[in-house]
Symmetry: C2
Subunit: 608 residues, 2 copies
């Protein structure tokens, strides 16, 4: 049943050797890895205006120079990451770069922020997309959280089906969204050039504005740079590309950067020229679309593709998180299960954990996008800074041909990223403080996990110890509850292992019972020693454990090993189990976890 | 930790031999076993008036003849149950009587209704008591369900502490309640006799009333007989009495019947004479008390002891349910765990199950007493009828000295109980239909459980089969995941059991891994055969199971037994477990439940 449902949802299992067929070409990779970055255009420009409006609408012209700053930042990031792709063709992005050049702990910080950030990617994209839908159908608004959760479950299932299939589903909405925004920007600019838009809707550039401050402009810039989240995804996912993977990845990165720059500038410019004011209910993109087309088909096409790409942007998280988790697991910061490929060759554990954690985040933040975005943005700029710094150290250390220009690019990237990170903490502290609390906790946990694995590895390594002393013989303890086929079966087995060292143990609660059982036993099995342990407090485990301790002490002296054989009868149907005292399970768990006893379970299958 | 909390809540464990000290004397027994029956006085008379008011207040005089009918019914039940006590001195009440005389399935019906009824006893008493409290403090009213649940948890804990201790706590409120009602009735009658109460408050007996019907009177009678619930409790609990148990029980029963008759008649009479009309907010007893004393100390004393006895009446359920469950479990209708005495010598499983089920009932009925009472009453009269009928059959069959008078008593009891049962179904069908749905389901489940135990017993009994064929030798399969101390340890153990029949099994996911591991293994353990099972679909269990099947088939031919040894390393701290793939647990569960393989777990305890 369960396995049939699994087959239906995620498809037939794939052989390990089918892995090569799952690689991405550039067109699909652009769709799958860029949806996060491109969809940021839907909320990035708005974030700038939201800060400026706190002074006055006259300050909107500042969005143009701020957008230029963001474009410079984008250029620096694209150039820097292009260098990272060629320098680290096996992927891993910020984590690997920071780890190899700055050391394991800066790497851990970069990687942990990225892991958390991918969870935020999923939460932010899905809730933003849900907002877009429920804005269109206000009656659904109170079900926001449930709708968002359903989307996460859907995307998780798609990801479990495997990389290529998700990409086929994803490709259309991403390109449709790009097409829709191109049409919007093109028609908008055409309208402006042909004089259909009044030039009085906006204040001209350079108009003096009362009350503007450097702090406010920095805050607006930091907000606007949230449009750059998702830029690093390609550098983490190079192994997913078709060969030659680094070249294809670099080309895809440049294509994505260009698209992002064009769309971002276009939206900022139109918003400025049309004099759009951000309001609670309607998004900036939606206002531009309405002014350009009116509420016709094109308006709904733009709104629809925006909602779709926002939700599917979550997929970037699903591509990048499991791959980064593999690096983390290989470095022993998180459990090894993250390195195992599922039936469809995706890293299913990473995919599932990502889905579950983002659902928890959505519930914790009650589906409110605006509270998630600042956390999300600051979480991106920490690894940006660390990876660029790592590259700077690398160039200084290795000094390859042409290293000076490479050094300049990465130094610029590192400085700008550092400045943006600091701006976030300075200008939006009330929103981003949780990063300062939770990131150190997560890093500490990862650190402890690594320590544990290292200690286990040391203990298991054969070279570290003398070879074990051979076992001279076996003593078998057989707890019995009566004289039945189950006991006969186990006794038979015990005799085949060690015919002369068997001790049957009976734990009576009443004195009378004790004598009666001993008599019955000696009649039935005169050769097998029986020990009865009267238990006045009606516990089986306590007297049994004490007895085993005694036997073990004696056996240990002559290098004998003690084995406890537990007869367990297994009913035909699962529900029958609740009708039988599960003493054997309790005894087994108690012995294994608290004592160094070998426990053998002899099953006795009932036939009806 | 857990065990310290347990000690604090329920006290130190008692030895089995301390059982005798826990027996009840008559005074305590009356308190513990009669609180249910006596507390019914608080709602029984009101139930009669609630039916009569549907015609008019003039019909209230009918409560006097109806109450006489109830008293006759009470007399018949007390006499009948007195005979049951002496005929069945080991207790078990309706279940044992019906089973022994009418057969196992009528017994099952009687016992099942009683079991369900004890759950209803707890639910009804606690919710009625909660109502009394929240009537006094209306601001608590919306928390009715929570308050009731807290009471159930409290009473459950008290019951787990043991019979005597609960009784000591119980004795005071029960006797205080009896005292309070005696004072109320005494003062009330004194006031009437001294002419302080106007004779015009009530219509005189025999006044003709328009619209009265036989149906309505029967309905009122059925409602009034809900005051008799709890009468059977003593006959179920005879083993709890001090010796001579049957005599003490019979005396306690008569004392209880007398008290019940006096209190019931007194309340009905005062309600009639004072012309009390039942209203939603204030109970009949409360109205009588207010008219007699005004809102002074005595009024609150009566209200307080009423609330207390209602809640503590639940304790009758806690005494009777676990004892009846023991009979049921001994007859294999319910799981054997109900026959095990807990640390304090009470049947803890029965007590806990009762607590949980009554909490579920309270939640399902949202704490509404009025919906629970009819179910409760009808559930009592089914076993009343069956047990009396059983006694009739017994007397006819055995014909002891004086059997004719005994026969007459039980026949009267049986007939009256049957009539009351039928009245319930005829006059209150909309309220009692769930009995017709759920009782058959419960009975069917109990029947199936018995069939299962019987079939298991047949299969386990030694006499039924040939003695098992001795095992010729052992083949040991050892799944290995690497070359570590854990594997070395298990291999050592395997060699001590069967040095020449060990097969190590390795399941690689990649072809390259296969050859490398084989080479390493042969260098390390040249004498131990290694089988590698390449698993292209990355499953360990599937190839392993197939391999074990093959080995088992071959081994079976020459009477060899296959044992799978599973190395399991046990980390120092519990939370470390989540850091390691729990493959060994999965493999073990799979093998034990699906195949007839013996599984040995060799623990390897990590030291840090």
């Amino acid at each position: 049943m369960v396995s049939a449902i699994k087959r239906f949802l995620i498809g037939r299992p794939l052989k390990s050797t089918e892995l090569g067929e799952q690689k991405l070409n550039k067109t699909k990779a652009l769709a799958i890895l860029s949806s996060d970055a491109l969809s940021s255009v839907a909320y990035g420009p708005e974030q700038i205006l939201v800060v400026l409006i706190t002074v006055s609408a006259a300050a909107f012209w500042y969005s143009i120079p701020i957008a230029m700053g963001v474009l410079i930042l984008l250029l620096a990031l694209i150039l820097s990451y292009r260098q990272i792709i060629f320098a680290y063709p096996h992927g891993g992005g910020a984590y690997v770069v920071a780890k190899e050049n700055l050391g394991i702990y800066p790497g851990l910080i970069a990687g942990s922020s990225l892991l958390v950030d991918y969870i935020l990617t999923v939460a932010v994209s899905v809730t933003a997309g849900t907002d877009a839908i429920t804005s269109a159908f206000p009656s659904l608004h109170e079900h926001n959280v449930i709708i968002a959760i359903v989307f996460v479950v859907f995307i998780t299932t798609m990801s479990l089906r495997g990389v290529t299939e998700s990409a086929s589903i994803l490709a259309y909405p991403v390109y449709l969204f790009v097409l829709a925004l191109f049409i919007l920007i093109g028609v908008g600019i055409y309208n402006i050039l042909t004089g259909h838009v009044s030039a009085e809707l906006h204040t001209s550039l350079g108009t003096p504005v009362a009350g503007i401050s450097l702090f406010l402009l920095l805050r607006a810039f930091a907000s606007g740079s949230s449009a750059l989240t998702g830029v690093e995804a390609i550098s983490n996912a190079i192994p997913n590309f078709k060969d030659p993977a680094p070249n294809n990845a670099a080309k895809t990165l440049v294509a994505m950067g260009t698209l992002l720059a064009v769309l971002f500038s276009g939206i900022v410019f139109l918003a400025y020229y049309y004099g759009i004011t951000p309001t609670g209910g309607v998004t900036v993109v939606s206002q531009i679309a309405e002014q350009t087309f009116g509420r016709n088909f094109m308006y709904f096409f733009i709104q629809g593709t925006t909602a779709l790409i926002l939700i599917l942007a979550a997929n970037t998280g699903y591509s990048a998180f499991p791959l980064l988790a593999v690096y983390f697991a290989k470095d022993k910061f998180i459990p090894r299960m993250f390195t195992i490929r599922g039936d469809r060759l995706g890293y299913s554990n990473g995919i599932i954990v990502l889905g579950v954690l983002s659902i928890l985040l959505i519930i914790a933040f009650k589906g409110k996008t605006e509270h998630l975005i600042p956390l999300y943005a600051v979480g991106v700029f920490i690894p940006f800074t660390l990876s660029q710094t790592g590259m700077v150290v690398k160039w200084i250390r290795e000094k390859p041909i042409g290293w000076i220009s490479k050094l300049i690019i990465n130094t610029t990237g590192a400085l700008i990223s550092l400045i943006v990170t600091m701006m976030f903490f300075l200008t939006k502290f009330t929103q981003v403080w949780p990063v300062l609390v939770f990131l150190p906790i997560i890093i500490f946990v990862f650190y402890r996990i690594r320590k544990h694995y290292e200690s286990v590895g040391d203990q298991l390594r054969l070279a570290n110890r003398e070879p074990a002393v051979p076992i001279e013989g076996n003593v078998i303890i057989l707890p019995v509850a009566g004289i039945t086929h189950v006991v006969e079966n186990s006794l038979n087995y015990a005799k085949s292992l060690s015919p002369h060292q068997i001790i049957a143990v009976y734990v009576p609660f009443e004195r009378e019972d004790e004598a009666a059982f001993e008599e019955k036993w000696h009649k039935w099995q005169p050769d097998v020693r029986l020990v009865t342990l009267h238990s006045p407090y009606r516990s089986i485990i306590n007297p049994l454990t004490k007895f085993i301790d005694t036997v073990q002490r004696k056996a240990g002296e002559s290098n004998y090993q003690v084995t406890v054989i537990i007869p367990q009868f297994i009913p035909k149907k699962g529900w029958h189990n609740i009708l039988h005292n599960q003493s054997s399970l309790l005894i087994r768990a108690h012995l294994l976890y608290r004592r160094n006893v070998i426990v053998t379970t002899v099953p006795y299958h009932l036939e009806k």
